[in-house]
Point group: C2
Chain length 195, copies 2
DNA sequence: CCTACCGATCGGTAGG
DNA sequence: CCTACCGATCGGTAGG
């Protein structure tokens, strides 16, 4: 069935090109004609593969949300300390942001352009993820592993630091991914100032 | 001169409404009709106060850039340690982000929609600011005040943490601005893990 | 997968 | 500051 196979593959090509365009120009500023040109099609032909512009955004947002939540589930299942859980989570975030920067960035920045009811559904998933992340921070504070900081401040500082990796980190640059993980975890866990 | 006075004031109202809309919906998704409605005008009447949609974005971006650079200059002039300079800078960032969240956010997220030559000009100012920020980090590492981390990693982690304040911090919420500064500086300077 | 085309909306202008 | 309107572009459809 080469036809079915090609159709599947072409849809994937479209989704990946869209993620890159959404990252670079934003969802509203990306036209279906831009996208068509990026995958060597006429705009109207896109609709043989996808139902609408927003369907693409939905797929990017919810695929990534599921990805993060399934990683969270795995980490919660392990019987490890809050410190190890935070380290695992941060490593997962960094890895995803460096391996698949286009998709993650669209997910981070463009979800607000979803329309209802998807917007509410997405926010619910996101809130769920944040609450489970925050629970680990609170646990670490309770056990005395972490400094007694406001858990909301810590949560969003951690997430924000990693959220903008795509903006400045280039895997081909001077810093390798291993060094990045080392220095970023070092900074986030132990701070800037030497004791 | 009530006429001149009103005109001036109306332009300011338009700029502030635009900053809020750009923050909430993004620059491309904000139409001049949206903006007109927000300030109780017809779209065409906006053009008595401003030359174009992009002029508004330019003003927001360059006003903020100048604001940050002048704060940097002030801090550089003081003969203080790298630690104090970083603290001053972070406090300035947090204060601006909490006091004037709409304008700062537009500046952070929407500058990429500038067209040339403003885009290049803006990037140059931004790079200049980042380099001077990074120089302070490097100085602190050299004097032994800071941990020997990669200065690029530290720079962007700091900037990113504060960049997303607008997204989750509400001055009317449970955390006061003083507490926010305390906990955020505590986290960024001393890290999450208790020694 | 294309050509041809739709109604809606865009930023902006003319003219008063 | 408004009404009326412009050409360009948008997401998407019809029909083959």
């Amino acid at each position: 069935m080469p036809t079915v196979k090609n159709k599947k593959s072409k849809k994937q090509v479209i989704l990946e090109a869209a993620a890159r365009l959404f990252r670079d120009k934003g969802y509203p500023a990306t036209s279906m004609r831009d996208l068509a040109q990026a995958v060597d099609l006429k705009a109207s032909s896109l609709y043989n593969h996808i139902a609408s512009k927003e369907e693409i955004l939905q797929k990017i947002c919810f695929d990534n949300a599921r990805h993060f939540l399934s990683a969270m589930k795995k980490i919660e299942k392990k019987d490890s300390s809050a410190t190890d859980r935070i380290k695992d989570l941060l490593r997962f975030h960094i890895q995803l942001a460096t391996e698949d920067p286009t998709s993650v960035t669209s997910f981070n920045d463009e979800w607000r352009h979803l329309s209802e009811p998807q917007l509410t559904e997405f926010k619910t998933l996101r809130k769920d993820y944040e609450n489970r992340f925050k629970a680990i921070i609170k646990e670490g504070i309770k056990t005395g592993e972490f400094n007694a900081l406001n858990s909301t401040v810590v949560l969003y500082s951690l997430l924000s630091s990693i959220r903008w990796l795509y903006d400045w980190y280039h895997p081909d640059g001077k810093i390798t991914t291993e060094q990045l993980v080392d220095h970023l975890l070092g900074f986030l866990l132990y701070g800037l100032i030497k004791d």
